[in-house]
Symmetry: C2
Subunit: 362 residues, 2 copies
Amino acid sequence: MSQRKVAGDAGRATIRDVAERAGVSVASVSRVLSGNYPVSEDLRRRVMKVVRDLDYVTNAHARSLAGGGTPTVAILINNITGAAFAHVAKGVEGAATLRGWLSLVGTTGDDPERELALVNLMRQQGVAAVVLLGGAYDYDEYQLRMARFARSLDAAGSHLVLVGRPPLEGDVPATTVDYDNEGGAYAMASHLLSAGHRRVLVLPGHAELTTAQGRLRGAQRAFEAYGVPFEPGLVRHGPYDYEHGYEAVEAALEETPDFTAVLAGTDVVAAGAMQALRAAGLRVPEDVSIVGYDDIPLASQLTPQLTTVHVPYEEMGRVALRAVADRREGGAGRRKGSDGDHLVLGTHVVVRNSVRPPSRRG
Amino acid sequence: MSQRKVAGDAGRATIRDVAERAGVSVASVSRVLSGNYPVSEDLRRRVMKVVRDLDYVTNAHARSLAGGGTPTVAILINNITGAAFAHVAKGVEGAATLRGWLSLVGTTGDDPERELALVNLMRQQGVAAVVLLGGAYDYDEYQLRMARFARSLDAAGSHLVLVGRPPLEGDVPATTVDYDNEGGAYAMASHLLSAGHRRVLVLPGHAELTTAQGRLRGAQRAFEAYGVPFEPGLVRHGPYDYEHGYEAVEAALEETPDFTAVLAGTDVVAAGAMQALRAAGLRVPEDVSIVGYDDIPLASQLTPQLTTVHVPYEEMGRVALRAVADRREGGAGRRKGSDGDHLVLGTHVVVRNSVRPPSRRG
DNA sequence: TGCCTCACAGAAACCGTATCCCATACACTC
DNA sequence: GAGTGTATGGGATACGGTTTCTGTGAGGCA
């Protein structure tokens, strides 16, 4: 009698099918599977056998609708291809999996419209948190947008986490996980200065990008600390990509060729810069020293291996997830403005082979 | 009266809240929002205003339980950090977004247990398809595992897509998107041979990895075509990473130092090989030529820029999603063994600066 | 032996949305 | 002015689980 149902089953088996076939109630099956209620060994065995026979899995949608369900974190990235972001995603994903959480990844392609659409989509999914990665432009509008997102998610019982972005001002329900951008740049610049370099080409990134601003500021502070005048003419802004590194060095060799070192805002920019120097017949590090920022795998795969600033991307991801999980377990009604809203991780210089004392090439 | 509900609302607003506040029925709200049923302009306005006021979004779980819902693709990756995989993921994600589909990413960490767990998790989520990326070991067990996955997903109305993995034998409901692994290796080896190289160090990858087997086979065929004896002693197997490239070259320089070119199984392996050659005082490409495989961004960021085989990773991702979408729209009851189960994309050699005719170093 | 407690199983009430089926109002036609 | 068709809104139900509430048999104790 129940054979017909099972045989002609086009879609997936339901909990009712399992119950019927095992000769027990639906409630019992649910209890065996979720395991949060005592059941007799006999019942468990009978149910599990049918579950295996039917290759049954519970319907996650129904489950989460009924109140149970796996918590989910959404990770929103500008560009899944960026090496740094991949590491953060890995950290989040790993920590999520460890707790049995699920993680979703969406890419925004640097488009604010898509970012908005994705945040809403994630809200529909009822995610426990939305993790936003990557640098942000245009400080004022950014603050407004993010504050709206934060409140909107908060009202829906979710939470916004900003990773590698500037923290939000005022009383906004969001968590920020950041690293010491300026401090890393300070240390990196100090490293060059203490090696004797005085004329340093600085490629901090886009002027509007907060990350670039921090890195530039750190470099400036180091110059001040060493009593070396900082030359605005040796600063060149541009995107964080290989091409910019190449072109910036090309232009600098034309206009201000007396620099003895390059302080790149990113390892990828450094790779481009290195290539341009070589194309101009200059040796690295004998003629020109060069340093990067981020410590992605590329840094140790270049020749010479790149001295750079290690940013704990993967740990940032883990920390972000832990912050969300703690908040969720530590009771929902957490006080606004409580501590732990802004976590800052440290960075450090990784010394490899791309820096030498300045030559007298100039 | 309804004020109490709205004001004290801890979680998110429901469609009922919206209906009540707008003074219409739940059904009407649903119809306004999904837009697949005629509603009067007046009704639409009233409902939309309340939706905005309450910042309401529909519950995706409830929606998909009730039959509607956004199709979702799951992407399962070994390691999110791998550059090639990131590009496939990007292709899938992009194509999915274009159709309004959602995409989920999970990482297996090369662990078959986790792979199984993830496939089940995705089955629970009711995904439209599961896309599995990356090379696979152990041919026999692999076939069995995948066949089980395929049938299991198929029974649940979902579908398995293998990308960059060997196709399944027999009558299994799965789609494979592949590229011409062997052909690319053949072309790459021919490139070296036609430049005059005869003693070539080959680093195809792990011997059990099907990708490595294909690349090795392609190289062998090229040697045969050129009438050059293929030396098994110049083949060194190992993982697809930087360290293997370095160590393999180090060892080869010790044992069989007369090679004039390196045919690396991967761009990353090539990077390691290049570094080891430099460490031994050899110049690339003046003393030793070197080629890679994959054409990831790294290839053009090395010095010299790497000649390599371009694999259309992103397109593979797009193609994979298109295959799933077509199948889903083209009626569920597609005949088994129908065409389109195995799609093969072409590759081509990208010539850069890492190959020269052999020197008489030896 | 009778009563009470405990351990477990079943029935039923939700969770939030889509949709089927029916009711109503209005415009038209004859 | 009655009858028919069309456009649109509402009520009820289904989706597949979880959980609360209730019921029942077995065992412990007097």
